[in-house]
């Protein structure tokens, strides 16, 4: 079967799962940063909440990534 590795798993499927993780990782950071920017524009505190959103988004994305990798690895 094309795309199957020697262990019988489908390379395309696992590749797609890791691509999905990457997209979610990116969107968590982008969503929090954009949220921070919108709040900054509302309260006139630019760039305080934007940076806070970036930091929170990055931390959240890393947390998500490790949780997801643990699940994928069966841990």
């Amino acid at each position: 079967m094309p795309g199957a590795d020697p262990h019988g798993r489908n390379a395309g499927g696992s590749y797609a799962q890791f691509v999905g993780l990457g997209f979610t990782f990116f969107f968590i950071i982008a969503f929090c940063t954009a949220g921070g920017y919108v709040l900054d524009r509302l309260f006139g505190t630019l760039p305080l909440l934007l940076l806070l959103g970036l930091v929170v988004g990055f931390a959240g994305a890393m947390y998500y990534l490790f949780r997801a990798l643990g699940r994928l690895g069966g841990g």
Binding site: D5, A11, G12, G13, Y15, A16, L65, L69, G73
Partner: protein, 137 residues
């Protein structure tokens, strides 16, 4: 070469062939600078997408704590690479932003379509494995 790398190389060759056609048409009908920017975006996209094979290898082939950490770091590295490779030339106005972004995003669209065609089989395999595990328990 493992299955993930073969998949990455095959996807990259297919995408590059399509991009060269689209780039030639862009250069012929629109502008050579636009064609160059489009192909540059495609190149960044291909490197970024193919590097996922490295992540998959790190996380699935005899994973250790260090390899898992490196695999997670590769997500950050890939994001930084893509952001810098696209935003720096766009910000410094070295290349037009639109064809670059279209080329970069186009790679992800094409490669995801290819993966989408391959993924359902693995979902079936995963479900069967889960059923086997439950039966064993």
């Amino acid at each position: 070469m493992s299955a993930h790398w073969r998949l990455a190389v095959r996807g990259a060759i297919l995408t590059l062939a399509l991009a060269l056609l689209a780039g030639t048409a862009t250069g012929y009908y629109l502008d050579l600078v636009w064609a160059g920017a489009f192909l540059y975006g495609v190149g960044v996209g291909i490197v970024s997408f193919a590097s996922i094979a490295l992540t998959v290898s790190l996380l699935t082939v005899r994973p250790t704590a260090l390899k898992v950490l490196l695999g997670a770091a590769s997500y950050v590295g890939r994001l930084l690479f893509a952001a810098l490779a696209i935003l720096v030339p766009a910000y410094m106005e070295l290349l037009p932003a639109l064809p670059m972004v279209v080329g970069f995003a186009g790679v992800y669209v094409i490669e995801n379509v290819v993966l989408l065609l391959l993924a359902p089989r693995s979902v079936g395999v995963g479900r069967n494995k889960g059923a086997e595990r439950r039966a064993e328990a």
